[in-house]
Symmetry: D4
Subunit: 146 residues, 8 copies
């Protein structure tokens, strides 16, 4: 009965690697899932697999729906959903995942810098912990599985 | 059996008033709910009702949880959840509401300018319609209730 | 506590009118809902409300999703979902509605000619009654509400 | 944690074999389930196991219900439900399965030729991807599991 | 917000009338629902409405499914399901209704003579009260609504 | 669409009256429900209605199950569940109600003195607000319904 | 992913052994669960484990609730629930289990002699197959898993 | 398919060890989970992992939410939730867990001395067994798994 986590959000920093390394270092039995984090592949998967579109909206639509197959599966399976917000970009998909996970009753942990506290207050209100570093996330997982 | 909608998101433009006016003009039997849209009241409700905090995080936390009582109730009751994203601000609460509504199986309609199409592709992938004007939202409601 | 029914399926015969008339004649307290049965309006609602498409697929997609707002709402609200299959046309939306209703645990009544018995066996296997005339549907409703 | 798919629909072409081969060629860890695709066995299972019927309706009814034991189990277990519509036949059971899966919140992928686009618009509106070849289905699965 | 009850089980004594009278006497705001208690009508509804059958099994099957439309609706709507077992007859439908209601989380009250205590122990284990007279049922309802 | 609240917990102070008065004073459209707060009646209802018991355990058991009919109904119906803990008594039923409501996804508001903060930390962790006076509860309700 | 079945009902004939033997003979990968079928142990478990009772009702109550821990677990886990009714005894627990399973959406197969057809019509109306011999049950399982 | 239990409640006596030893002695295939039972670690985890707080309320809040990640996971996974109440302390978290488990439909077994019978009547009303010793709990598990 290994523990399952899903890492949603920011793809421009190495927070996922840090969490993975911390889990490995502490020898935790945790299965880690993420969305496709190759930005180009994620944006283009609709066109690459199903054919080109003339409208940007439908190009995005096809890609986002294919990505949703993976994302929903891993959120549904997760014991904890960890959502990272970087200081840049709108990352509405991260907040969407947090809302989706919360409505399913999944424990949510957020990870962001202090300067985002006010903007993320509604997301944090639905989270069971708010971390400012990947190490804190790992510490919570280690404590939970001790 | 009147129809119920919840209007989530941006509070700095008059899109809610336009939708309400359009519904009135067309004589649609629709019950409209919104979050508290008085920015100051929404931010301060935790401290005003339950006492001051020394930490910004907990001030926000108390307020966001009180607001959640209202928001969850109205999303849960809604037949359709309409989520508006303005061109400014991060509005993570709007994306969170969209995810929450989607996970509950509520029909979601998004409302935003074309320039946000790419950033909102995951939210739109879960929506049943994407509108660029309040008039379009009203037209969909009118069509649905005709 | 009036009874609510949803009439899904064929739009090229007057079965809905016959059921409505039968309900009226028997004085049954039943709220009747249907999809938009104006074929043109139903096909075109996406383009009419949200703008033209160059691809037939996306034209259909936009329309079908807008129609889904109405259909899901009424299936969700229904005490009984009645699904009519005519002898012509593929009417996959009718079978889709039947599956959707069945998975939600809604009682389903099918209405079709005997020649369709074999082709509809899986749908009928999930139905609580299979009728061959609108009068039979009305008789079941009258019996249920007597 | 292998991925589970259910292949619903057409039994007169080799699309299931092509998907199975593609999954094998790409070395994907996917558990593939299907209905009983032996047409005769599927039609006759009620009579063969439980005894002959004089009425065609009840012969079909018994068979369809026995088949439902298998179908519901595999849809319930599936991570993705893939529904194939051939150009011939009414295949209402395929559309029924798609509706059933959609109501359970299962990701649905449809597979059909372009000429069926309009007739399948409501089914496609509930799908996360619409493919025109088994290869595209395999590509989506490979992308999802990469 | 009137209270809703469903009276399942025995149709050969006047326990339903006694409960209805008791509710009236105490002026309780309770909406009372029952199955069709006309034995003949209940047994024959399948054939009367949908046509004769040559096999007893299918005659019963058609009737029981039509009756299920009503029974499920009223159990689903009920705040309390009251299940009466007489000393005669097998009344498996009553025990079935009790199991159905229990699985839905509906409060169940049983009503039977003491001599059935042992035979009904599993049903009573899922009930919130076991009564030996209609008066006791009414007293519980009056207490609950006081 | 009036708002519904359930007031769980302490029966030895007038907090329910204060909340009711505050709601009345502010003219809020709120339907207020409570358990039976007549201590003796609540303890004795099992014996009074269904007959005497020789064992204290079963006397309590019968009474608690009858009370559960009312309590579950009102928690299930409630938009917000308010749980009051006095400084005396164990009030495990109040904590049980809070857990029950939380698992159903109902918003919970707790009401207790500061000295109970540590002992109630798990209950407060599941609550959307923690109040120290009935006035604060009323203010939250007024804010929510403004 | 072995298939799981639960065998509910009659304990005075060897139908369970016959099904188990048939499953073994056909080499089906099926996990078989049953209630405690030692009549005395099942009746007495409450008193044996938790202490003697003076009232027959409470003796039965304690036993039935302990048995319910096992029964609910195995029904919840089952892919198919098979319910056997012998010609003797009231076996209300079997009908209760059938109702419980049906409400959870579990496929139900009934097993009984033809003379019970009328008395079991409501239970059969919720079943996906009605068998008259253990061999037929095994044949359905073999067909389902082929 | 090993059986899973969660042991909630009192941390000041060795009841968990006794149950674990009894399970081992009887060779039962049971997976045992508990909350963090190191009192200090449980109280301080919020501050230790996420940083110090100036307010006792928020110190407790952070800790209780982190503990909730573990508790909810194990209650959700459990086949049976066993809740122990010692004679001292308020242990509202134990009663909260019992309510939470009951609302999820999980079988609950309580474990407490006779003197707590009256105070725990509402919790026991939702339990499938009430034990006075760890040995009785083990006997029920052994009986359930025999």
């Amino acid at each position: 009965m290994s523990f399952k986590i899903y890492l949603s959000g920011e793809i421009h920093s190495d927070w996922r690697e840090k969490i993975a390394q911390g889990i490995k270092d502490k020898g935790l039995d945790i299965d880690i899932k993420s969305p496709v984090t190759d930005h180009q592949a994620s944006d283009d998967c609709g066109e690459v697999i199903l054919g080109a579109e003339t409208e940007a909206f439908w190009k995005d639509h096809k890609a986002a729906k294919i990505n949703a197959i993976r994302i929903r599966k891993y959120i549904m399976d997760a014991d904890v959903v960890i959502v990272r917000f970087g200081n840049q970009y709108k990352q509405w998909n991260a907040a969407f995942d947090a809302g989706y996970a919360a409505a399913l009753g999944k424990p949510v942990i957020t990870l962001h810098d202090e300067e985002l506290t006010h903007a993320l207050k509604e997301v944090n209100a639905a989270a069971l912990a708010t971390c400012s570093s990947p190490e804190q996330v790992v510490d919570i997982l280690a404590y939970t599985l001790n």
